[in-house]
Every structure is written in structure tokens, then in C-alpha cells.
């Protein structure tokens, strides 16, 4: 290097150019690029075929269920993982003779995939009479990045999704953002990969291959022992509430999604019910301020039209029923389903 040639202090390290010809350099660069591309393809295949990511499996199965529907339904239930494992449509069918599915997915999506699933349903069938949207106490506040989720989760890219009203970007930007995440998982799915690598290093890759039993109605009974200690979770939430760090405002993106959903309710003239998911009874004791804030915002939404309703009843369960702070075991799903059924269908 120019300055290195004049360096007087000979003890300092310098830069010395090597000796390489263009063919060797080209070969080295191409082999590195090709290897990275091949690793990327392999990772994409592994991620798409594996069942270790609970969220992926649930989302994918719910979309498959929706796409496999042959006949219109009386109702559909949308929401997050709390109603996913608490609401059993079979019970409604047996007791009320109403046909419906549980399309609730995971909280990461907020109300965003409620909108997408509903739009996709309405593209294939006439509107159901009733749409129920059930969310846990901490979901409306979540900030959701729709494009990132589309790139990460195996959701069919229907036209309504790629045109995505929830994105501030152009159609092309939407498509590019989504596909670059899907095509280059090595770069964009690093959390999943890190998890996989960690499990592999611990020799626990087999635990990733858990299959989730989601029945034909979309209900996912959960019988595994509690993964998260409910009391610990409660203590953390309580600390956040006391320190006023627990959010109680609906996020902007959720409000946008809800606005589109309520428009659909008016345009297609179906009854839209916002309801709560399940919670541990002890949580409701520390939650009243947050709950009242959420109730207020739900009620404001419900005021907008006569066929939009909010059922503010919290569905609480004792410790033995809980698998986490807002997820119940399969044995208690009947109780939640029946409670919901009574509140929705016994009040004309």
C-alpha cells in the first residue's frame, strides 16, 4: 500500500497484497456464493418441512382448513392461541346444530390475520351469520408488522393480502418484502435458525418435531403439562402493571385491521362479536385498570354499528385449568365454549 511503503515503524503490522490471478479469484468468489445459496435453499426446505415451530404449524393448518372448506358456515371464530385451544366447534354443533370452524391462530398476528382469514373466506362463500373474534388481554396492544409475518409464516398470498391495505408500501414493495423473507430464510429467519441450532447442539432436535393435533373443526386440544409457570408469569405482569409499563392502548395496526373488519361486517351484514380469551382468575385481580381501558376501546368500536358487539365478560379459570396465564387445558374447553355459546346465541 502507498502509505505502508513509507511506514517507518517496522514493528507495526502492514498490508501486503497477495498474488492471485483472476481465474482463481473468480472461482473462490463463485464457490463461496454458490455454497451460501445452497445452504440457504437447504434451510428453506428444512424450515418449510419441519413442524418444530408451533406458530407456523397452527397458522398453516388454519389456512389449510379454510382452503379445504366445501360449504358455507353459520359462523367462524377468529383470534389468537387462547381461543385456539379453548373453543371447540363440535360442542356448538352438538348443542345448537350450528356449523362453524375455529380459525384462531396466534397472538403475534393481532387482528391482522383475522382480517386476512375473513377476507379469504368471503372470497369463497357468502358471509356467515356470525363472526366471533376472541383475543387475549395482551393482544390488542401488540404492534404487528404484517409484511414480516407474511414473509415468515406460510400464508397463501391471496390478492387481498398482497394488495394489503395494512401496508403503507406499494404493491411491488409488499411482494418483494414478502418474497425476500421467504426465499432467504438464512438472513430473515435467524431466530428460528438460532433456536434450531441451539436445540441441535443440546441434542434435543427431536423435541422440535412435536406435532400439534388440530381437529377438523380447527380446535387444538392442549393436554401437555404447563410449559410456562403461571405464577411466575403473573408476577411479571403484575410488576409491569405496577410500574405502569403494561400497555393498555390498542396498537395502530390493530385498530386499522379492526376498522376493515367492521367495514366488512357492515358491507356483508353479519353479526360481529368481539370477545375475550381465557385467563387465569388470579390475573383478573391485578388487571382491572388495564381491563377497563380495553373494555372502553372495544365498546367504542362496538358503538359504530348495530351488528357489532362486544362481550366484556372475562372468562376466568382456576390454576389447575391453566397451561399458561391465558391458555387452558383441553378438559376446560367445554366450559369456555359453552359460556361463549350462551352469551352469543341465547341473546337474540
Amino acid at each position: 500500500m502507498i502509505q505502508d511503503e513509507h511506514l517507518t515503524d517496522t514493528s507495526l503490522p502492514i498490508e501486503r497484497l497477495g498474488n492471485i490471478n483472476s481465474k482463481t479469484l473468480m472461482g473462490l468468489v463463485l464457490s463461496v456464493v454458490l455454497t451460501i445459496v445452497m445452504i440457504n435453499v437447504a434451510v428453506a426446505v428444512i424450515i418449510n418441512k419441519s413442524h418444530f415451530d408451533r406458530g407456523q404449524v397452527i397458522v398453516q393448518k388454519k389456512w389449510e382448513l379454510l382452503e379445504g372448506l366445501q360449504n358455507p358456515l353459520d359462523y367462524i371464530l377468529l383470534g389468537d392461541s387462547s381461543p385456539n385451544q379453548a373453543f371447540d366447534p363440535q360442542i356448538v354443533r352438538e348443542e345448537l346444530g350450528l356449523n362453524g370452524v375455529n380459525l384462531a391462530t396466534i397472538g403475534t398476528f393481532g387482528f391482522v390475520d383475522d382480517l386476512w382469514l375473513l377476507q379469504a373466506y368471503l372470497e369463497s362463500f357468502d358471509a356467515p351469520k356470525t363472526v366471533i373474534i376472541a383475543h387475549s388481554f395482551d393482544v390488542p396492544q401488540r404492534d404487528v408488522a404484517p409484511l414480516k409475518l407474511l414473509g415468515t409464516y406460510r400464508i397463501p398470498l391471496t390478492s387481498s393480502i398482497t394488495q394489503n391495505e395494512l401496508s403503507d408500501f406499494s404493491y411491488i414493495q409488499n411482494v418483494v418484502t414478502v418474497y425476500q423473507r421467504r426465499i432467504f430464510p438464512l438472513h430473515y429467519r435467524n431466530e428460528t435458525l438460532i433456536y434450531m441450532i441451539e436445540q441441535f447442539l443440546k441434542g434435543q432436535l427431536d423435541v422440535l418435531e412435536v406435532t400439534y393435533l388440530i381437529d377438523d373443526n380447527g380446535f387444538m386440544p392442549w393436554n401437555e403439562e404447563g410449559i410456562i409457570r403461571v405464577e411466575d408469569e403473573l408476577a411479571q405482569i403484575e410488576q409491569l402493571i405496577v410500574s405502569e409499563q403494561f400497555p393498555d392502548e390498542f396498537s395502530k395496526i390493530n385498530l386499522q385491521a379492526i376498522a376493515y373488519i367492521t367495514e366488512l361486517a357492515q358491507d356483508y351484514n353479519f353479526d360481529l362479536y368481539f370477545v375475550n380469551g381465557t385467563t387465569y382468575v388470579g390475573l383478573e385481580e391485578v388487571l382491572p385498570t388495564v381491563r377497563s381501558q380495553l373494555d372502553q376501546q372495544y365498546e367504542n368500536i362496538a358503538k359504530s354499528h348495530s351488528n357489532i358487539h362486544y362481550i366484556s365478560t372475562p372468562f376466568t379459570f382456576p390454576l389447575e385449568a391453566m397451561k399458561s396465564i391465558d391458555h387452558i387445558g383441553a378438559d376446560y374447553a367445554r366450559e369456555y365454549t359453552q359460556s361463549l355459546m350462551r352469551l352469543i346465541w341465547s341473546n337474540p
Partner: protein
Amino acid sequence: MGVYMIFNSQQFMVLFAITYVLFLLFRNNVNIRNGILLVASYIFYGSWNWHFLALILLSTGVDYYVGIKIDETSPTNPNRRKHFILISIIFNLGMLGIFKYYNFFAASLFDLFMSMGIYLDPITLDVILPVGISFYTFQTLSYSIDIYREKLKPTRNLLTFATFVAFFPQLVAGPIERASNLLPQLSAPIQLTPAKIHSALFLILWGYFKKVFIADKVAQYVNVAFSTTSVNTDVPVIVAIIAFSIQIYCDFSGYTDIARGIARLMGIELMVNFRLPYFALSPSDFWNRWHISLSTWLRDYLYIPLGGNKKGQWKTYRNLMITMLLGGLWHGAAWNFVLWGGYHGLLLILYRIIGKTSKMRSVKKQLPTFSIVAQWFLMISFTLYGWLLFRAESVDQILVMTKQIFSSDIYDGTALLDVSIHALPLLIMQIAQVRSKDLLMMTKQKLWIQFTVSIILLLLILIYGHHETTEFIYFQF
């Protein structure tokens, strides 16, 4: 424009790809080639805040004019030459003063008078610090001074000069280039060889790795430990300081490597800015290895004009201290930077004093390995403590954390382990560089080694890298 560009952002990658293709297409036509570089540089700089472009245009115009005027003025008319060089000095330092230091000095003056019970109505300007202003003002200033000293002939090509000032790879965080190095390269035919491209690709890859895998990762611990709100964190002070020393080195040298790699891909050589500074054995050795473009600038344009070491012992110490205090202040308008500069000034002075009277030489002859290890340990300890002064949010925090260094924290070791894991590749590479005395030793390894290392670095960047683009630390200086 809405999106600012840093080297690890997609926007920059797109800009560079387009610029590079056009550059290669027109590489034989100097004016078109420089035109392409200039447009790309202004897009790059304007992406941060297009208003800043006015400053860089002004700086370019003033020093271009001053350079020509000094050259046109006969040496027999020194007053007129002095008049022109003063225009450049006042303009460049004035711009720095207004945009970087005005609020700091106004607030400090306010505090000083308040401490004496005098209320002074503070007049503060709500100015945003233009990115990279400290770098390009020093660059243009050195151009005019070199012409004044008759060490350089001015360029009469405004396009070339504007490209020299705004050259995007080094615009916002250096190296602070000398016109004598960069201007001739911008005016000459480009010579691209496979060896240059090879080393450029290595610099870019290694630079990204240092920034994304090491600096941004260890930053998480640094930010927690130095947060003003956190009192007792799980990150012990000593780990936080070590983490910051790794972060600032990897962040800044990572940026420099990428900048130099990008420039070299275009056949342009930028200064080596780092020569394994944490292997320094003395304070002067450290400054021969750390931010070399700044330390040599300060030496040539401040220390030597002050008299350097030619006017006696005490004046040498005075000159060292002034240079280092101003060098510290260059990093930012805050007292902790001044303190850091003063601390290094003191180390340099003490080293000169001890170095003259030391009997260590005889010990060194007897036990060279021990002596070298001891010297290294002493120097790295001083350097680490300096980083505490540099990073601390306040003088109070310096005092509290200094006490905590010597307290026996009980913690689970997770932070230290994680920092060590991220720093391990750096350590391995640098030991190899020290042993070979060659910063590009990796490019001379067997092909399979180069292939394997490249794949590992790329995979670690892709999988473990911090993907949210974070600014490089030295952009703020």
C-alpha cells in the same frame, strides 16, 4: 428522502451496486467517472438530511477557491497568503464550532455562571449535528493548509475536488484523507488488479463481520451497563468496559474496513486507519495504531505547529496535552471526551517521563517475554479505563463505575461468556495478523482455508448478525 444509508442497509447496497456498474462502464473517462462518484456521494449524504448538502457544497466551494487563491499569490506576499488560509481556517472551524460545539459551550458557560450565582440568559441554537462534519472539515482544512505550506498544488478541476471532499466510502466516518493521497488517484486512470479486488472483498467481509456480528451484539451489554437508569445490572462494570472496548473497535474499524474495501474495489486506496491497536505496548504505540488518520492529522496540523518536541521538555508536554485535549473534544461536544483526551495526554506525558529515566530496558533484555506481556497488560488496562471515560454518560457515572471496577460482583457470567464468544473470532484473526505482521494475511492462506473462513463469516453474519441496521458509532463525531 426518508431512508438514511449506512453500509449495512439495503438502500446503500442498491446505491453501491448501481454506482459500481456505472463506474466500471465509464472508468476510463475521469470526468464522467468522478461525476458518477459525486452524484452517488451526494445521494448518500443527502439521504441523512438533504439540508446538510448545503454545508458540504459550501465547504467544497470555499476551500477550492482558497486553494487556488493561495497558489496564485506569490510567496513574496505572505500576508495575502495568510489572509486566504485564515478564510479556510475560520470557515471550517467556524462551521464546526456552530454545528458541533455552540450548544455545548453555551451550556457550559451557563453552568459556570450559575455556579457563581450569576444567571445568564442562555441563547442556544437548536441545531442538528450534520453527519460526518468533523471528518470532511478536517479533510478540506488540510488541503488548504498543505497548499499554504507549498506541499501541494491545488486542483483546478472543481469536479475532482468536490469528489475528493464528498467521496462516499469515507465521507461520514473517515479515514480523514489527505489531498496528496486521494486527489491524484481521482485524477489518474484506475488500476484494478485481481489482488486488489481480492483484498477489497476480504476487507468488506471482515468489516461487516466486525460490525454486525461483534460490535452490534456486544453493544447490547454495553447499553444496559451504561444506561443512566440502570443502577445494578447483571453486567459487571469490568465486563461492560471490555465489551465497549470491543464494540468501539469493531464498530469503527469495521466501518473503516468496509470503506477501504469499497474504495479499493474502485481502484482507490484509502489510508490504513487501524493497526491492531489493542496490541500496543505504550501510549505512543497506541496512537500509532488507533484512528491513524486523525492522530497523524493532529500531529501534522496541531502538535508540530505548536512546536512539537523541539522546544524543550515542558513545552513538549504542554503541546501533547493541548493536542490530546482537542483530539478528545473532536470526538464530541461533551466533557467526558475532553477528559478522555486529557487522560491520554497524561499517559503520553508520563510515558515520555518514565521512558527517559526507565531502567526497564535492562529488565527487557533479560526477560523480554515477561517484559512485553507486562507492558501489554499495563497498556491495555490503561486503554480500557480510558474507554470508561469515553463511554460514560456523566462524570458521576465515571466515579460510580470506577469504584465498582474493584468491587467483587457476583453474577452468573452469562454476559462475559457471550461477549467472549463474540470476540473470539476477532482474537483468532488478530493473533494471526500479529504473528504474520500482515493485516491481509487471510488473503494469502490456502484456498480451502479462505473458502471455509468466508463461509463461516458469512453464515455468522447472516444467522447471528443483528439485522436491524444500527448506525456506526463514529458517525456522530
